[in-house]
């Protein structure tokens, strides 16, 4: 995985490169490591694998989706990044977090050569949202932190208010039950 460096590009970059996906939400583009993604699906293809949360304690999480006997909280990308409502058509199911992210679309797959640290002037939630910034096709784009979509505190809130639901969704689906 590309390690963050200071906010300047080195003249001769010998660091390992990282495969990434570029996705968009509204007018903004973001980068995420390809290794962080388990699966990319169209929202239309999810169908009956989605169930509502009993108590949606977080504005950005209202559903659970089940894939391959595992369940994931569905995180609205535009709500997470505090953006105006967008039209998500794609879901990124993450590999190492129980989260599936609704995004508008995948723009491209690319190779990230450098990861620049977020300047210290940024002091808000973006320090959790992003691993840093990168430059692709002369654009400076934020590189999202996959585990930043749901903090451990948010996961605990969801589990406390919807006890066992994540496990139940997977079990019900696995047994052929209606979810």
């Amino acid at each position: 995985m590309t390690q963050p460096v200071s906010s300047s590009l080195t003249p001769r970059d010998t660091r390992p490169r990282e495969q990434v996906a570029v996705f968009s939400i509204g007018q903004y583009s973001f980068v995420i490591s390809a290794a962080a993604i388990q699966e990319i699906r169209s929202t239309d293809s999810l169908g009956g694998a989605v169930m509502d949360l009993d108590r949606p304690v977080l504005r950005k999480v209202r559903h659970i989706v089940e894939r391959d006997s595992r369940s994931y909280y569905v995180v609205s990308g535009y709500e997470h990044f505090r953006l105006p409502q967008s039209r998500p058509t794609t879901v990124l199911i993450l590999r190492n977090a129980p989260a599936a992210i609704l995004v508008d679309q995948i723009e491209e797959m690319a190779e990230m050569r450098v990861l620049l640290a977020l300047p210290h002037s940024f002091v808000g939630e973006e320090r959790t949202w992003y691993r840093g910034l990168t430059v692709l096709d002369r654009r400076v784009l934020p590189v999202v932190n996959p585990i930043g979509f749901l903090s451990s505190r948010e996961l605990k809130q969801l589990e406390d208010q919807n006890p066992g639901m994540l496990q139940f969704a997977a079990a019900a689906r696995h047994q052929g039950g209606h979810v």
Binding site: S7, S8, L9, Y28, F30, F81, R82, L83, L116, P119, H120, S121, F122, V123, G124, E125, E126, W129, L133, V135, R139, V140, L141, P142
Partner: protein, 156 residues
């Protein structure tokens, strides 16, 4: 024998934000750039309106308007790159300014203003220019924005 004292006279960069002319010590000013490409992405930090890429460095763009004027400053074509002194680190940021900047030398007079970010004044052809403490004016703007959000939410 005469002694050249000119090197002891401090220099300041005078610039304009909205209708207000203010100054910063030359020591904290790096350069003036025109019409850079501005990139933006979602974040929640007050005052930051985007970033520019300058000589391979990511430079955040910070609007001093909220602190100085009580509102965002007008669109700008020029950006003054300054060195911030954040605790334990210094970092460059770009300030959108209206029009060009002026480098002047002169003595700093005591501040007559009540604003805590004004550390002195500069008498420039009988025009009094406020000299700013950069970190304090950034803090003042951030506080104004943070305070105004709950009020706006309460009214909505």
């Amino acid at each position: 024998m005469s002694v050249d004292n000119s090197s002891h006279i401090p220099s300041f960069v005078v610039f304009q934000i909205g209708k207000r002319r203010v100054a910063l010590s030359q020591n904290c000013v790096a350069e003036l750039i025109a019409s850079p490409v501005l990139f933006s992405f979602p974040h929640t930090s007050p005052l930051i309106t985007g970033i520019v890429l300058r000589r391979g460095r990511i430079v955040p763009v910070m609007d001093l308007g909220p602190g100085l004027l009580g509102e965002p400053s007008p669109l700008a074509r020029f950006f003054l790159v300054v060195e911030r002194q954040i605790p334990n680190v210094s970092e460059r940021c770009a300030i959108p300014v209206q029009g060009e900047c002026e480098l002047v030398s002169g003595s700093m007079l005591p501040a007559a203003e009540r604003e805590n970010f004004v550390i002195g004044t500069l008498d420039l052809n009988e025009e009094h220019i406020d000299i700013l403490d950069l970190e304090k004016v950034i803090a003042a703007g951030a506080t104004r924005i943070t305070d105004s959000v709950p009020a706006a939410e309460a009214l909505s």
